[in-house]
Symmetry: D3
Subunit: 170 residues, 6 copies
């Protein structure tokens, strides 16, 4: 049996679904994603001090601002206010291989509302990574952004979701 979408009505028309009967609860979502780059670009990012230029500082601001714009970017997302937004970065550096230089971005959103914030968190991660891309593209034309996914979600009727295993997006 084919499963149906919740974002379309019975005639197949796209809709912003009705959440008026859903409970207002405290909800959180964490999304993650990765950008891989060559050693030149990675070294430049890691040297990011006030002196050298703080790539990740710029990307963090871009990600937070984009999370706030989620409902104007994703057509059927509900407009919603949130209580907290952070973006953190981790590194996996290995000069022996171009593909092993990675920056991981994580965006966490907390809100009190009727629907979750996973799209906001995913939007924050995506734009943060694109901002890193923009600032590094003169040093590496072959960067790739990937593994953008929901990492954790809590609140609402489904309770806690935690990503069990990492799935490759190739």
């Amino acid at each position: 049996m084919e499963k149906d979408f919740s974002h379309f009505d019975s005639q197949g028309n796209a809709i912003m679904i009705d959440i008026s009967q859903k409970e207002t609860t405290s909800r959180t979502a964490i999304a993650k994603g990765i950008i891989s780059m060559n050693a030149d670009a990675m070294n430049a990012v890691l040297g990011g001090t006030v002196k050298k230029g703080d790539v990740l500082g710029v990307a963090r601001i871009a990600g937070i601002m984009a999370a706030k714009k989620c409902a104007s970017l994703i057509p059927l997302c509900h407009p919603l206010n949130f209580d907290k937004c952070t973006i953190d970065f981790k590194f996996k550096k290995d000069d022996s291989s171009i593909e092993k230089n990675e920056i991981e971005a994580a965006c966490e959103i907390k809100l009190t509302g009727k629907t979750g914030a996973e799209m906001e968190a995913l939007t924050g991660v995506s734009i943060a990574l694109l901002t890193i891309y923009d600032m590094c593209k003169a040093l590496d034309k072959t960067m790739v952004i990937g593994n953008i996914r929901l990492y954790e979600k809590s609140g609402g009727k489904n309770g806690l979701y935690k990503q069990e295993t990492r799935i490759n997006a190739d």
Copy 2:
């Protein structure tokens, strides 16, 4: 010798770089990316008719509209008008494996200006894929977006760039 960023001045301050002396030329950029999903979600997307709900039609509009917003999302991007924007989708379906169900999005931008449109194309691809994610997330919580990259670029002083091989992001 450590290479430097073009998006920071000599004191490390982030800047929108000066393109006033660059030549106005015809430029194109194509970016691509992938979302992988389970068979349930894929079947629902592929059944996307007016009756069932046209996921890709919604995602295409979201991607085109987001490409137009690129300069308001990526902090140091120059505001620019463009002449053409398209988003196309391809499928790789294999019911035997959850990871083999993939939708590839490609965004092509054409413009006449002093700087390229690769960030616009990458933004278009990213938001198109996030929109697919949003519409399918009730059917599959483990979707992953990846392999977002520049595929082709032409115009400007660097001429044609074509991605030689596909690099995995993961």
Copy 3:
């Protein structure tokens, strides 16, 4: 005796009126409007399949996204989040007369808040119809958009309002 506006203070200055003392209730609004077009354009819209191009699918998304932007378009509207937004279309086709080919758009908004959503619904209808106009204007330069009006409203201290008779906006 001349009646006064609520959107101006006693000196005649435009204000966003104070709703802090109003009750938070469940509210709905439905707005409607019409675009009339020639038979060529109408046939092209009605043939709107994935193959031919889904004009109404694009217009629906544009309308929903515009409803979310209402407070940034209408100067004195309060910013508000809503719980549901849908846009539906109906047709009145008569090949014998250029004026009888009509598409009616209806936008329904549901929210929990201190003020109604009629401006959001009217904005959704208006932009949905303008999007149809944009996509059909190569086929008909004489299209007209009209009869944009509040159709139904409920919630708040005034209770249910239902448009009794259809008033012509000529």
Copy 4:
């Protein structure tokens, strides 16, 4: 033979059409539209002085600002800068009939570019009229916006277009 849309490719996918080969010329567009209201609302608008509250002044600003946002509202519109934007109002007042009280808004856009500005002008008119609606809705719940249409267009390969006769939208 069924005519086709220019905003869809041969597979029926919505596209922002390629204008890169079009000539950059001086272009103008004038759009018009009407709001009809009862005598109470009309009298209040006509009494619009600094003392009473200048409904049309607010609507004019809203319309000009909305014209600038056209490309972010109408999905397949090209982003474009323009050289001039004005919004003017005319009145047709007749206290004997509720339907005869009308305000007509006209928006004129002038630009130097590869594509016309009719959608910008139509957007300016629509939002100006919706702003009047918003400010008058406490005085009249039965207002109707209509007759939104292209009135004149010049520039580009099609030269001058002038609306011959007024077509009723209703």
Copy 5:
């Protein structure tokens, strides 16, 4: 002992701070600011009738609309809806001195929420004054905007704050 910022975490990363545990209360904020101009510009503004052009009417609308956009302008501001927004102007005119011609703008915001609205009020004042600047700049190139400050704030755990004395900025 050096005091720390609340908008950065312990590693110095910019964050949108967590307000999920804060109480939802009624809050108000009033911000003020001044633009000084020469006598020519001041006379033109003061002559602002419907006939001459209502500079302050335009500035008021710009300020209210900007207050609504605060969270998209100030990176770490929480998105929030508000219940009331007004902008008022006062004059201090003295033809004997170019520096004594001043217009003071005051923006008052009222909201029900977990965080205050002082940034919204300050943004409203700033953009209202910049709009006056824009409209008067052909008459006076030496205008200066200043004394932008929080004037009063109430609600939340800190209770009432009232600016004791006027502090000069410059």
Copy 6:
């Protein structure tokens, strides 16, 4: 004789003025402004390293992004693309006096177009200073933003303008 505004027509209606006949030239604008704060806040800002939190880095990004949004904030500004945008900060620190701790922001815009970029530069400065305010307001409630002014302008028919003397705004 009273001088008139260029932003109103002969009936006093606000207009976006017609620049279609103006020459496309290279233009620059530099605007400046100041925020004054107490010693606690100043010390915290000056200690702004990646460890402590880079207030000025965040403010710089906010200012550049706001400059790009100028035409959507200032009602009668023409939409325009620009070629360069930078924001720089200087300090005047004096622990002996609360009023002597100042940060000066300067925003420089370069563009090729028919109209100047002074409003863009002034908007960039204003929002950069408001962002500093936002991040420091927990340390000092009495901060004041002032002396926002055009500092230098070149290009167009008026040629170079340089602010002769510093005028106090207060």
